[in-house]
């Protein structure tokens, strides 16, 4: 567990670090790449910009120079030398016209290269050779020269033949303009412009130089930028520049020097001249802008990177938190599972101990019996013990089965009509032997019973009560007292329900408070020296609680060590729709004798319900006194209900004494104990009969009714009762002939007419062949050859007959609740257990037929 947790942590941390590194790497790469890319783009843009710039400038130069040359041509055309013979007038006209066009100098150019100034100071050409050769070839040409004062002048030469002073004929007329005119018109040196330009000759010497350049040669200028270092590099640039000038190509390069920073240099040739335009754009400012952009870009990138990392960290943190929580939850679940499995293994070890004990007894006793096979007494003794042990073993196994049913959610509650008086009766008779064996006092108290007939799973209700009672007996010492009480009150669930309280109280060893919390958990038993010798699975209470809860009830427990324990069950039961027999008896004069006041009063209540007003008293002596008194008044009691166990003289002695007073009285002994042993003695003492406790209304009614015959001639109806189904026809499916005969014998007592079907198929056939409404009901065995009862029921239910919904009652020997559920699921109306009980069948038939 720990390791896997660490593994998860390591994985998390590793991926976090990996992602961090990746992030940093990718973003740095992006920043770097973008910086490069932007530099590249800037330089590309520079080239495009520069080339168009210089194109503009050279175009401008071309038009400006072209215009000036055209002016010169026009001058020559208007004032021709042939027109006037007057030289002065000619020169005046030329001067006038030239000045009007802005020329500051005007001269005639001889074949030898001499100037004859017409206007302005004497000039000379700085580089006369190319100019002269062009002039001789009668081309138009522009060149730079200077006047006597050293002012730089741009000279425009246009071929023209005029008479010169020397007598020669000129080859050209040359006009001069100050250099500033060119640089102004071309805006070569505008302040604040990013680009400045020079005009140079092939050898690098300046024709026109921008202000911030010094020296006379641009190449020298370039060399000086490198300041003596890396001369080779400067020379390389110069060579390239010269080569492109020679080839007339445009040249574009980015120079990087320490002194001037990065500069973009662009060079192209200018028309009409031997000049070249060199434009230079220092990148200083641009670079600043670009690097500011780059910085911003880097910052933004880093910021983004940071945000992403932060989010990642958050996500990882959250994930880590979740993982940790999950791991904790897993740990808790694991802990729980271990606890549960521990409880189960403890249970198994307890169980194996508990199972081994009776098993050992069985094995041992079998061995003893085998060894003493001829000694019948011994064998009988062994067999008795074996039988006891097996019963105990069976109980254990049943508990385990129940528990596994509960745990797998398969325990189903049946809902059948039960009579609480019957339930209590059977309960009392089941626990009697155990109570007798431990010589415990057993009190049963029933009071405020609203309805005896309710709907409930009788088997499970019995199980619950038996569990509580046998626990009480087990954990109460010999001679202790066990109280069982039952009472009812109106249910909050409505009129169709009744709330039943069941209480089992003992004065036994009790339970420790810490165990009280766990008493209803599976597989728990108080681990204590006091109880180690008492067998049990530790499942009983868990099963009990489950059943009570499944019935929709609650169970509470109060207990104190050494003082005793009280279990209190409250459950709302549905009232059964049975028409209660009108239980009314003649108005007998009766006396109830019981040492429990509650008991007396409850009995009196019940008696009142069946039409009898009775007296009561709490001990034998006073009972005898009361009998005497009534006798003297000639108003004898007719029936006396006498508790067996009374303080002072007991029931039997009391009966004897009463018999001594009067003879014409029925004395009935009431008791929660088994009276078989005292029966003889009691009869001899004059007891007329017995009524078992608890005293329900019905118990009293049926217990007292026989005396109605002897007392007064109350007509008994029960004689006719069995024949309540006179003439009713019932189809009985049962594969065994003997069983069929028994059933027929029993059921014909009810006046029923039965037809026998030997299996499901015959049953279906018979039903099909009968007229509609011929049969009133079908009694169906489940396990039959050819076709089972379940299948037959499904076929009958699927028939297209009006009476296809005929009541079908299942009869089976397997009274598991699952079987019963299956019967009901496939369409049967009710279920009776085998061997069939005539009363039960009569009850069902009455329900369905009437």
């Amino acid at each position: 567990m720990k390791e896997s947790r660490n593994g998860v942590m390591r994985f998390l941390m590793l991926s976090l670090v990996l992602i961090l590194v990746l992030c940093v790497f990718i973003f740095s790469f992006l920043a770097l790449f973008m910086n490069r890319k932007s530099e590249q783009t800037i330089s590309d843009i520079g080239t495009v910009y520069m080339s168009s710039m210089s194109e503009q400038i050279s175009l401008h130069f071309q038009t400006t120079i072209g215009l000036r040359l055209a002016q010169m041509e026009a001058l020559i055309e208007t004032i021709s030398s042939q027109e006037s013979g007057d030289e002065d007038a000619l020169f005046d006209a030329l001067t006038y016209n030239a000045e009007a066009r802005g020329f500051e100098y005007l001269a005639l150019y001889s074949y030898d290269g001499d100037f004859q100034m017409i206007d302005g100071r004497q000039v000379e050409v700085t580089d006369p050779q190319p100019f002269l050769s062009s002039m001789r070839d009668r081309e138009e040409k522009v060149a730079v020269g200077s006047d006597e004062e050293g002012n730089k002048i741009v000279l425009l030469g246009v071929p023209a033949a005029y008479e010169m002073q020397s007598g020669e004929t000129s080859i050209a007329l040359v006009g001069g303009l100050p250099v500033s005119y060119i640089s102004d018109t071309l805006c070569l040196d505008e302040e604040g412009a990013m680009v400045y330009s020079h005009i140079i000759r092939k050898d690098g010497s300046f024709v026109i130089r921008s202000v911030d350049e010094v020296g006379s040669n641009y190449f020298e200028q370039i060399r000086s930028h490198w300041d003596g270092k890396d001369v080779g590099e400067a020379e390389g640039y110069i060579r390239e520049l010269e080569a492109s000038m020679r080839d007339g190509r445009e040249y574009s390069v980015v120079l990087e020097t320490e002194e001037k920073g990065r500069q973009h240099l662009f060079c192209s040739s200018l028309p009409y001249t031997e000049w070249y335009l060199v434009s230079v754009m220092p990148y200083g400012m641009l670079d600043q802008e670009v690097s500011a952009l780059g910085r911003q870009w880097s910052l933004v990138t880093l910021g983004c990177c940071g945000v992403i990392l932060l989010v990642l960290l958050l996500v990882f943190g959250k994930y880590y938190d979740l993982t940790r929580k999950q791991v904790h939850a897993l740990d808790a679940a694991r802990h729980e599972a271990i606890q549960a499995s521990k409880a189960k293994s403890e249970f198994f070890s307890n169980m194996s101990h508990d199972i081994r004990t009776p098993m050992n007894a069985i094995v041992g006793m079998t061995a003893i019996a085998t060894a003493n096979i001829d000694n019948i007494e011994q064998v009988k003794n062994c067999l008795r013990k074996i039988s006891l042990s097996s019963k105990h073993l069976l109980g254990l196994i049943n508990d385990v089965l129940d528990m596994s049913k509960i745990e797998s959610g398969k325990m189903i509650l049946n809902k059948d009509m039960i009579s609480l008086s019957e339930v209590m009766d059977s309960m009392v008779s089941i626990v009697q032997p155990q109570i007798k064996a431990k010589k415990q006092n057993f009190n049963v108290l029933i009071h405020d019973i609203i309805r005896e007939d309710v709907c409930c799973d009788s088997v499970r209700l019995n199980q619950v009560m038996l569990n509580l009672l046998s626990n009480a007996i087990k954990f109460t010492n010999d001679g202790g007292t066990i109280d069982l009480s039952m009472y009812q009150e109106p249910s909050p669930k409505g009129d169709a329900f009744v709330r039943m309280h069941l209480q089992v109280e003992d004065d036994g060893i009790g339970m420790a408070p810490e165990f009280l919390d766990k008493v209803f958990e599976s597989f728990t038993r108080e681990d204590d020296k006091r109880v180690q010798r008492i067998e049990g699975t530790g499942l009983g209470m868990a099963i009990t609680k489950y059943i009570v809860n499944a019935m929709g009830g609650t169970i509470e427990v109060q207990s104190e060590l050494g003082k005793g324990t009280r279990f209190h069950i409250v459950v709302d039961l549905e009232i059964a729709e049975v028409r209660e027999v009108d239980m009314v008896l003649p108005q007998w004069k009766m006396l109830v004798v019981d040492d429990d006041e509650m008991m007396c009063k409850a009995t009196l209540e019940s008696l009142k319900d069946i039409g009898i007003d009775a007296d009561w008293t709490m001990d034998g002596e006073s009972a005898v006194e009361m009998v005497k008194k009534r006798h003297s008044l000639h108003d004898d009691y007719q029936i006396i209900l006498l508790d067996w166990k009374l303080p002072g003289i007991d029931g039997i002695e009391t009966a004897k004494r009463i018999r001594g007073e009067i003879s014409d009285v029925s004395i009935l002994l009431i008791s929660a104990y088994d009276w078989s042993e005292i029966e003889k003695e009691a009869r001899e003492a004059g007891v007329s009969g017995f009524i078992p406790k608890p005293l329900f209304k019905s118990t009293l009614f049926y217990g007292l009714k026989p005396f109605a015959d002897t007392m007064e001639d109350v007509k008994e109806i029960p004689e006719e009762e069995p024949l309540q189904f006179e003439g009713r026809k019932v189809l009985l499916a049962e594969d065994n002939e003997l069983n069929w005969e028994v059933a027929e014998e029993l059921l014909s007592d009810l006046g029923l007419e039965l037809d026998w079907a030997e299996n499901g198929q015959i049953c279906v056939d018979r039903f099909k062949q009968s007229p509609v409404g011929f049969y009133d009901a079908i009694l169906m065995d489940l396990r039959m050859p050819v076709m089972t009862g379940l299948e037959a029921t499904e076929v009958i239910r699927g028939l297209d007959r009006e009476d296809a919904d005929i009541p079908i009652i299942a009869m089976t020997a397997d009274a598991f609740s699952e079987d019963i559920q299956r019967c009901l699921d496939c369409g049967m109306d009710a279920h009776v257990a085998k061997p069939i009980d005539i009363q039960e069948i009569a009850r069902h038939l009455e329900h369905f037929i009437h």
């Binding site: 069983n739 005969e741 028994v742 029993l746 007592d749 396990r783 061997p835 069939i836």
Partner: protein, 134 residues
């Protein structure tokens, strides 16, 4: 022997059966009929043929009859056998239980055959509810 002794010998619940069937004469009639019942033979035959499905059904029927007649011992053994046969397959403990069923059945046959013949004879005449001629 009379019916009470007969039930004691075959390991049954005399009081229970008389109370339920409402008279000794009926019990006697059914007990005698038990000898003619084919379930036990079917059980033996099915087991012989290793047809455990039929054997289960036969055991089940036998169990039902025993329940009806309150033959407690045979009911218990046949019921156990029935549970063992429920799966429809042979299991090692079946043989032992078959022997038990056989023994219980034999006991019943012997006891019923030992019933006083005159007791068997009075069945027709006895009225219902009267606890017949023993």
């Amino acid at each position: 022997m009379d019916l009470k002794e007969c039930y004691a010998a075959l390991g049954g619940d005399y009081e229970g059966v008389v109370a339920r069937l409402g008279g000794e004469w009926l019990v006697q009639r059914f007990v005698r009929k038990f000898l003619a019942d084919g379930s036990y033979d079917l059980l033996c035959q099915s087991l012989e043929e290793e047809n455990y499905k039929d054997a289960f059904r036969a055991a089940h029927t036998l169990k039902g009859i025993c329940q009806s007649l309150h033959f407690t011992q045979l009911y218990e053994s046949s019921s156990s056998l029935c549970d063992m046969l429920r799966t429809g397959a042979w299991r090692p403990e079946i043989d032992g239980m078959v022997a038990q069923v056989e023994a219980d059945h034999k006991k019943i046959v012997k006891a019923v055959q030992g019933l006083d013949p005159e007791v068997l004879g009075v069945t027709g005449g006895a009225s219902r509810g009267e606890e017949g001629g023993a």
